[in-house]
Symmetry: C2
Subunit: 194 residues, 2 copies
DNA sequence: GTCTATAATCGGATAGAC
DNA sequence: GTCTATCCGATTATAGAC
């Protein structure tokens, strides 16, 4: 249930966002969305064509929010290593997982091009953005020149996404934090010895 | 559908394994299992108490198989770096994802202790096993002594699990391979400069 | 815009015949 | 052991009243 200051479509989108995050697409029913939003069936089908349409609106918003939050962690300034470090160490609701990344395990998201597109674009953007920062580090002579920007970027994003998997399996954020520290301990010397 | 040489319980377990891998727990219905196994409802409920019971049998088998396959990649001999490299570079059905790791995104697997246990144990075993190898590398003076075995192990496993996420998002194994190469490029100098 | 009614199908399972 | 029948609630809507 949401504040009465939100319109019905807003409440439906927010409810869908939370349920997609927690239960995924196949695990989220229109009925559950309606209950969470405090809206009736007729209301939902008036504003949205159906479950896929509503999910698309929800996923797009979540993706946009993630980009904005991520860009904020990069904008802190400092060296390339410091900005990547800031991204990796930023506070996260680790046990909830990544609201975008978790959708990749959903068969109906992956099967349909429309729902997969925003997920793909967001993770691709993230890798590209980190690759840019690594390239800046290379340009500044901060990193060993054996590093390949897009490969380091993929390793950074994968460590985060995989960290969520380890944390959720064990029921504790510790494994996520350990993976991040491990990656940073490998990246740090590359930033110092050059 | 499976060969007639498999018993009905066997076919039900194998069908469940495949469906759990592809669609997860919430996305897998008893009806779908029965159809895939070529078994009737009565047959399924005769051999198994219900969906959770059958899923437990399936998950346990998948976990055991994964341990055996993984241990095989470690047994190849060579330096610690080479064994970790062999694990990371081993052939995988990347776009299908990890049959164990993907279960961590399933709300009903994570909520219930019985179904989560084999997932947790398997990923924990994997991290422990890789940490042992890193420790051997440290003992041999192969790695820089700033590396913390359990942290490197977590980073290695997370890179694989997260690599699946990136690959599935983009519909291509490239991002998985890039992440693995990125991690290895960070680990390699640590193994040479010491 | 929102509500209630209706409906076809699925989900997860039990009962009892064979 | 396997089959069919049956059950009850959930899923994913559509129709039409208000």
């Amino acid at each position: 249930m949401y504040s009465g200051f939100m319109s019905t479509p807003e409440r439906l989108i927010e409810a869908t966002r939370e349920l997609l995050w927690e239960r995924g697409y196949v695990g989220t029913s229109p009925k559950a969305i309606q209950q969470q939003a405090g809206a009736g069936q007729g209301s939902m089908y008036h504003h949205f064509a159906g479950k896929p349409d509503l999910a698309l609106a929800a996923i797009r918003r979540t993706a946009e929010e993630m980009r904005a939050a991520t860009e904020a962690t990069f904008g802190g300034g400092g060296t390339a290593y410091e900005r990547i470090s800031a991204y990796l160490l930023r506070e996260r609701d680790v046990l909830r997982g990544c609201p975008v990344g978790r959708l990749t395990m959903d068969p109906e998201i992956i099967a349909g091009a429309e729902l997969r597109a925003p997920v793909d674009e967001t993770l691709d953007w993230l890798r590209g953005r980190i690759a840019e920062i690594v390239q800046e580090g290379l340009d500044q002579g901060e990193f060993a020149d054996t590093l390949v920007p897009r490969e380091i970027a993929a390793a950074v994003v994968a460590t985060v996404q995989g960290g969520y998997v380890l944390a959720r399996a064990s029921g504790s954020p510790d494994a996520f934090d350990a993976g991040v520290r491990g990656l940073l301990s490998l990246l740090a010397p590359a930033a110092k010895t050059q």
